[in-house]
Amino acid sequence: MQLLRKIAVLAIGGAMAFSAPTMAQDDTVTIGVSIPAATHGWAGGLNWHASQAQARLQAQYDNIEIVLVTADGPAQQANDLEDLVSIHNIDALVVLPFESEPLTDPVRRVKESGVFVTVVDRGLSQDGIEDVYVAGNNPELGRVSGEYFLTRLGEGDNIVILRGIPTVIDDERFNAFIETIEGSGINVLDNKHANWNRDDGFEVMQDFLSRFPDIDGVWAQDDDIALGVIEAIRQADRVDEMFVVGGAGMKEVIQMVMQGSELIPVNVLYPPAMIATAMDVTVAHFTSNGPVTGEYILGAPLITPENAEQYYFPDSPF
């Protein structure tokens, strides 16, 4: 395998020597990072934290070379992976798959070429491909949010839920939330998809407000949705009647929590900075003498006015 790879390197290297001068050096470790393009707020934060980590790690280690590529869709990401292997000749890959199913095979092929693979957030649909798995905890996000609702509301109180884009992530969060509040007597009036989008959050909440005269709490599950929801509540002049819980840790929302907002009292973390964690762990595989392989599931802590400061990144776009 190793020999084959060397041959391939020589062949491609001969053709592309001008484009990749670093790969001739033996001690240089090249790490490819493949993530979705910044098409929504959370992914924007992901991109920002990825380039921050890239700059930091390259400054810290002379022999670490990080190639960051972003993809607009699963097909493009699959192409990116091929390019990372054949052109950049990567030693390790950090990948946040656009979608699990279509990228399982491309990532497996990268793995088979002898590359150290770290998968982030969205797991592959086949076990045992990756060396390291770093992820946020979607069911935990639903559960922690549900726990908070239990502390605030009880028998006979009404809530509405705004969900994300219909996906596994959304289902996991939603189901865990419903399980947590089950039996408490909290009444879920309805749930609708707001697609993790501010405009959709605004419109869905407007309709909830005209439909239900009594709402005590809103679980928006995501901070973009939550910001749209807040505008709709302000427009209807019902700010004093309810509270809103988003999720992810967007800086505007964290700031409101820090200021002790009544409307948006807490937040639940689902950090886009997890890409930095994944890159750190991957680099540690080449620089540390401790073992790193395994699964890293990040917590989804409740962000309150007391601890909000440590989750606040004013420079991040998210």
Binding site: A38, H40, N197, D199, V204, Q206, S210, L227, P317
Partner: protein, 345 residues
């Protein structure tokens, strides 16, 4: 030559027999939809909901009025959603940076609006110029600019969200949330744009030129119509409409990101076609477009007001209603009428 001339006359002849269904189709569908909405949830006709509905349809509606001109003249503009996003983004940047020099006030909002209109006109002109003088298909030109504008707003926002400074937001807020004599400002703007659009399309030479070019470009050229100029102007009108929609959109959430205005182009085109304008050009109806835009928003609103339909099927319901509306509009209901005599022409 004579055959082609006949083709241009066709809609008028058809109208003799099916006038009611052809023009009233979209309206009938909208009324049916409203009855359905009321039946599912009586909150549908509450004043608050109707106001929300009309205010919401203003964005797509205003953009769709512009799209009516482009499509009537045989063109297409796929870039409007991205254009709205990038104009919102630049407006926010301009207003935020003007605060430092001039302080907060109405003038900041006016500067933002001027920037928006200039950008809209320029972006529209660019689409028109590349289509006519560059001789590239409108589909390709606007597909290209769609991608360009979308990336630009992502770039300006650094992948995140551009937010308007909070103190300006308070000054600007009434443009979306305010009302004049009980009519929300966006609805008023929508009405004015629609009336001006109707006059321009139906009562001026320019409107007739649009229809002439859309039904047969060659004949229009032989008839001494300045085809390129009229065509370019339709895109400029489209750009202007996008900028008006943006001026109303920005104060709503005070932010713009790469997810702003996604798929608005398809909604605008759908509103135009539901309203009875021909996708291949040659015949346009502003009134129908207005009804089409309101109808699209109504579908979403009704789906939010009920929980009898699975959330996962929302798209399917929208699809069925859109197809049914166009079916009505094409006069199919008339053909089912047993009391109507078949045309003998």
């Amino acid at each position: 030559m004579t055959v082609q001339a006949h083709e241009g006359v066709k809609p008028a002849r058809k109208r003799l027999f099916a006038i009611d269904y052809h023009t009233m189709g979209p309206l009938l569908a909208l009324i049916a939809l409203c009855i359905l909405g009321f039946a599912l949830n009586s909150a549908f006709i509450s004043e608050g909901n109707i106001t929300n509905l009309l205010t919401r349809s203003a964005f797509i509606g205003i953009i769709a009025v512009g799209a009516t001109f482009v499509i009537t003249a045989g063109g297409i503009d796929l870039s409007v959603g991205s254009m709205a996003a990038v104009i919102s983004g630049v407006m926010i940047i301009v207003m935020n940076s003007a605060i430092g020099a001039m302080g907060v006030g109405v003038h900041i909002v006016l500067i933002g609006c001027v920037a928006s209109v200039l950008l809209g006109l320029a972006a529209g002109f660019l689409n028109g110029f590349m289509t006519t003088k560059g001789k590239i298909e409108a589909f390709i030109v606007t597909l290209g600019t769609m991608g360009i504008y979308r990336s630009l707003v992502t770039y300006f926002a650094d992948g995140g969200t551009l937010s308007l400074a909070f103190d300006v937001r308070d000054v600007y807020r009434p443009v979306y949330y305010g009302n004049i004599l009980g009519v929300p400002v966006p609805v008023l703007a929508f009405a004015i744009v629609a009336i001006l659009g109707w006059v321009l399309l139906n009562r001026t030479a320019f409107g007739r030129y649009c229809m002439a070019i859309g039904s047969n470009e060659t004949v229009a050229r032989y008839s001494a119509i300045k085809v390129d100029r009229v065509r370019t102007l339709t895109y400029v009108i489209q750009g202007f409409c996008v900028s008006i929609a943006t001026i109303i959109y920005v104060p709503r959430l005070g932010s713009a990101s790469s997810s702003t205005g996604v798929l608005w182009e398809l909604e605008a085109i759908a509103a135009v076609i539901i309203g009875g304008t021909m996708l291949k050009g040659g015949y346009g109806r502003i009134g129908g477009t207005v009804v089409g835009a309101i109808m699209l928003t109504t579908i979403g609103n009704i789906l939010n007001l009920t929980d009898i339909i699975s959330n996962y099927l929302n798209g399917a319901v929208q699809g069925v209603i859109i197809i049914a509306a166009v079916w009505l509009q094409r006069g199919n209901l008339a053909n089912l009428n047993p009391f109507r005599r078949k045309p003998t022409a």
